[in-house]
């Protein structure tokens, strides 16, 4: 069907849209060289290297912290392995003032913006330095100064929030936008529909970045939706959409830059579907072996976004083996040492149980805290953490 399609027909004519295939935007081949008709990406070498280093950083962080979880140091962990390109490539296309609202698997975005290893570790161990005051499970990071909204576990709730946030940015008129990350599973929630519809109706500068990584825990995307990915949904909202190879960091970067222009200059919200794969388990609680094959996994391991980016950097003579070795070593050391430090810190104080529920602690709740303190004084051994002992072994 084309624009020559008639406006009126006289026999019942059905279409399911499958014919309107959405192409995938790619720049880099798996060997790290550009497709021959692809233009060289408009990317300075500092940014290119910062992207790459960040991707390697989160890979190292993820490996180390999963190991820490396996050792019982941490209760829970989630890796973004395989999706670093989609996450870091897109983040690098934003202005530092743009808001990021993530799902939970986007530590790369935060790392790119300069979240320190200390900051990561404090949250992971829920210690007294955790901005979140030890209230949320590991990986629920947030940073006000880095414009990274604190993660919330209920899926998809951040998507309409991003629409609202971006609407506020539009009224503020400073040329900022919001990028919201979510999985192809979360896109099934009602909140997704609400968010995209409101975004086009109200002309909001927001970029909806769907990480289509093939799975929602054990549920493969063929059981999540019948369509060819999430991208065709944009048609239902008259929203600009682009599909991109999510393991092609340069393409993700370029697509997001173009999307940002539409959003910020023209108040046109954009859906970006980054096709990628969750190489690791869903989380440290999951074992994918019962729902997908090793073959499938190793096929995707060959498409590793980090390797592809490295090959490209090497071809540009921006990166050498020695650089890689040095980077890996220094990152491993940094992560390990910082982890040990963070783990030794005490938990947040008992008061943190009742603060931040409201701007001020209401009288009845203050009374509950007093009662709790009195109780703990009676049984100090029963509540070791709050009675001043280190909270390392949670």
């Amino acid at each position: 069907m084309t624009t020559t399609r008639p406006e009126i027909v006289h026999t019942p004519t059905f279409t399911d849209g499958a014919e309107f295939r959405i192409p995938t935007f790619k720049l880099l081949q798996e060997n790290g060289s550009l497709y021959k008709d692809a233009a060289a990406p408009d990317l300075d070498s500092d940014t290119a290297l910062r992207i790459y280093r960040t991707m390697v950083y989160v890979r190292v962080l993820d490996e180390r912290m999963l190991a820490a979880q396996r050792q019982g140091r941490l209760s829970f962990y989630m890796q973004c392995t395989g999706e670093e390109g989609a996450i870091v490539g897109s983040t690098a296309a934003l202005s530092a003032d743009d808001m990021i609202m993530a799902q939970y698997r986007e530590q790369g975005a935060l790392a790119y913006r300069g979240f320190t290893t200390d900051e990561f570790m404090n949250q992971l161990f829920g210690n007294d330095q955790d901005y979140g005051k030890g209230r949320q499970m590991p990986v629920h990071y947030g940073s006000a100064k880095l414009n990274y909204m604190t993660i919330s576990s209920p899926l998809a709730t951040q998507i309409p929030q991003a629409t609202g946030y971006a609407y506020g940015q539009k009224l503020a008129g400073k040329g900022h936008c919001t990028l919201v990350f979510f999985g192809e599973g979360a896109a099934s929630e009602g909140d997704f529909h609400a968010a995209l519809n409101m975004a086009t109706v109200h002309r909001v500068p927001v970029i909806f970045l769907c990480r289509n990584n093939g799975y929602a825990i054990s549920t493969p995307s063929v059981e999540q939706f019948a369509a060819d990915g999430v991208a065709p949904r944009a048609f239902g909202y008259k929203m600009d959409v682009i599909r991109v190879d999510g393991n092609d960091t340069l393409a993700v970067h370029q697509a997001t830059r173009a999307a940002r222009r539409l959003a910020v200059e023209d108040n046109r919200p954009v859906l970006v579907e980054a096709m990628t794969y969750r190489l690791a388990a869903h989380s440290s609680s999951d074992d994918p072996s019962s729902y997908r094959s090793k073959d499938e996994e190793s096929g995707w391991r060959g498409k590793d976004p980090i390797l592809r980016m490295r090959l490209w950097l090497e071809a540009q003579e921006l990166w050498r083996d020695e650089d890689e070795k040095e980077l890996q070593e220094s990152l491993r050391r940094d992560v390990l040492e910082t982890m040990k430090r963070a783990q030794k810190r005490p938990p947040p104080p008992l008061e943190s149980l009742v603060t931040d529920v409201y701007d001020e602690v209401p009288p009845a709740l203050a009374g509950q805290l007093e009662a709790l303190k009195a109780h703990i004084r009676k049984y100090p051994e029963a509540y070791p953490k709050s009675s001043g002992q280190a909270g390392g072994e949670q």
Partner: protein, 325 residues
Amino acid sequence: MPRMNMLQAINDALDIAMAANDRVLCFGEDVGGFGGVFRATSHLQEKYGKDRCFNTPLVEQGIIGFANGLAAQGSVPVAEIQFADYIFPAFDQIVNESAKFRYRSGNLFDVGRLTIRAPYGGGIAGGLYHSQSPEAYFAHTPGLKVVVPRNPHQAKGLLLGAIHDPNPTLFFEPKRLYRASVGEVPEGDYRLPLGEAEVLREGDDITLLGWGAQMEVIAQAADLAEKEGISCEIIDLRTILPWDQATVIDSVLKTGRLLVTHEAPLTGGFAGEIAATIQAHCFLYLESPIARVTGLDTPFPLALEKEYFPDHLKIFEAVKTSVEF
């Protein structure tokens, strides 16, 4: 002081808030040019433009999700849910998101600027989907404030209080009083405090506690009781969460008896919470069981609405039972 009905008072509050701060936005289904199905937002779009007062698509979860985002961004959203009965599609955005936003982020982010308005309650031949009083669903959710005004003066002052309160606030408006309740309303900006109950009438024999449209019903019942020589103390709770325990406790320590009324079903209604708290604090002072006069444990009916209703006669009877215990 000008006389206004409750809708005018609410409209006036919104107008004042929008005039004072251009970050205040009003939106919801039919809220824009039309001014809302009850006309609470009349003329606001004309005055402040389509960017600040507008229709949304028909999706409550989206309205509140959008409002949460706006509030986090630093805007001051006043979102309307067309009927409180239709707030449930937004329940997750309110209970899991608005209520927990500040806590979960350790105060890095909050949606304290959010206000959600919704008409609630029966008495308008609305049947089960235009009559509900859902305050108790929200009162089990730390992080939210829940406010219900009883007349135009209160509505304006409490709504301005809610809009300026640094916590997400649900503002339930007794729609049966929208046009029926008329009274003097001060001009200009004034804010009534959240979290404070108000003693409306002093008395010795029993404390009658309620909120919103039930305050009128309580007053009628108290008048009947007065004729029988029973002296009622009347308290408007005004803020359901967090509620003013001290004022209620003081009163019950004095009267020795308590009756709480609401339109919502008995089981799990907020009267239960109040009774549980007061029996604990006033145990030795209570001269009779705390009475609850509420809706039945059923959905809200239509044809037999009058029978269902916790009206002044039912309250009056419960007062007598309590005093004669």
